[in-house]
Subunit: 334 residues, 2 copies
Amino acid sequence: MSPSPGAKANLAEDVLAGDRWALARLLSQIEDGDTEGQEGLIALFPHGGRAHRIGITGPPGTGKSTLVGRLAQAFRSITPNGRATPLTVGIVAVDPSSPFTGGAILGDRIRMGELAGDPGVFIRSMASRGALGGLSRTTGDVVEALDGAGFDVLLIETVGAGQAEVDIARAAQSTIVVEAPGLGDDVQAIKAGILEAADILVVNKADLPGADSTLRALRMSVELGYPRMARAEAEGGVWVPPVLMTQALKGEGVSEVVDAIRGHREYLERSGEGTRRERRRLQAEVEACLREQLAARLSSQLPDGRLEAAVADVVTRRQTPRQAADRLLVGMPR
Amino acid sequence: MSPSPGAKANLAEDVLAGDRWALARLLSQIEDGDTEGQEGLIALFPHGGRAHRIGITGPPGTGKSTLVGRLAQAFRSITPNGRATPLTVGIVAVDPSSPFTGGAILGDRIRMGELAGDPGVFIRSMASRGALGGLSRTTGDVVEALDGAGFDVLLIETVGAGQAEVDIARAAQSTIVVEAPGLGDDVQAIKAGILEAADILVVNKADLPGADSTLRALRMSVELGYPRMARAEAEGGVWVPPVLMTQALKGEGVSEVVDAIRGHREYLERSGEGTRRERRRLQAEVEACLREQLAARLSSQLPDGRLEAAVADVVTRRQTPRQAADRLLVGMPR
């Protein structure tokens, strides 16, 4: 028995009225792929587009979660002009090793309990869904729902140098890449893979040996990547990613990161780049949904056993996977 | 002007005759998405299916490339019974920080020149293609071509904890996950993300402090993940991933890894698991090709401006991306 349409509309209405229990329930429906989840999202979607979406990514062991906690605290202490209450913060953790997931916590990180007790902070972990495949779609919907629910700031934490995580981070308006000293060749990987997605670079764990050389290496990478841009910046038009140093555990350097984040948002608005990014992101979302629907259609149209027979011919190497796909599509409605 | 069909057939024939220049050219055609590349792959495909495909993955900075180099050397010193020449080795590096890519080398890794001068070793880097999106398909085709070209062992090196890299590693028959001491929370991330894909776990850089505790943590993870399997193993039916320690730079522990790899291959053959894995892999390949072709069809069928108009309505939040996709497909041939 699914709830009546009235009950569903009420769930989204409750979310818009600030009901956190209703929000948690709606997010679970979205994660489970329920029709109710999509209907709730449709109801919230027109209210969205106002949150500042901030992606925080980087290799494991760099202290991202601690930094996210500190950033949340910092935003909670900001009350914009003309408002009576401070900024509200939603946290989405797509990091299986994040303490936000409730998993085992190694070391002496910031106590997330402090944040959990704050009604202006909502924390959602995406780790329980297991494999990362398809996670970027679900995460996008969850972030969209939190945006529609009215949070001012959304902190999206992902781990690693993989494409799925970078995709999630790219869906943010401002992407922070976190490094730590002493991860050896990491800077190499960062340069090749993530640097182009970074709006702000942070070297956390500034107290560890090698922090200065990591900072220098990243600054050099940025200079190498943005030689013409650095010149254009002098004319005010281009964002060159700042490289900052923090010791998130003690809260040191965090306010500079907040300043950089707010500066980046101003840049996005001033330059029109924010609108362009949002348009690109939504177009990619539409195209991904199209691909999904087409695949679902196809599997409902292929006669029983056709796919299996085609795969059997691939296994015996009578045809390549691409030949099999071509042949399966011959005779399908075009 | 594209070459005549005769010329194309000759390229694949030259590859089968052991011409390395022809192989390099064919791989470039495959990477570029050329029709010639697919035709060459079709010619090589029936000859494939005999190589042992070994995936090597793990976080940056763990010394994967050095281990890959050592494994290649070790396999080159093995001459199976009934053969006059040692095993041949193909290396595919999908790691942007790998020295195989010819990029900057940090630290004092093994000299890859030694391998490059060996005619029984063929090295291919996939890093020059930039972003990882779509890379797993191209990598799959490159590995398939090397298999058809007759290499006995294929070492596929990927970096990171991301889904794309895990997908590539999973395409291998035996997957080695490499760790190093002192990466802090890495073991957490490994547990959650990659452990299930690992057939063999290696703690490299055994000389670094913390090696023993990393080894213990991984062994504990394996025991937690395979409690029933460990019992079943006593009856001979199940593979429990061994956790090994190496110091690849000095070659220490490498022969134990080679033994584990060969033991895993025997297990795959004995248990029938190898056939099941290969079937699953090829079915996923066929399905991925189908999705690609369907998307290409759609974009050729949508009237000009339809997609843009739909995206515009998403940008102004009049519809969600999924609603846009649904509406674009209404009226399309089913």
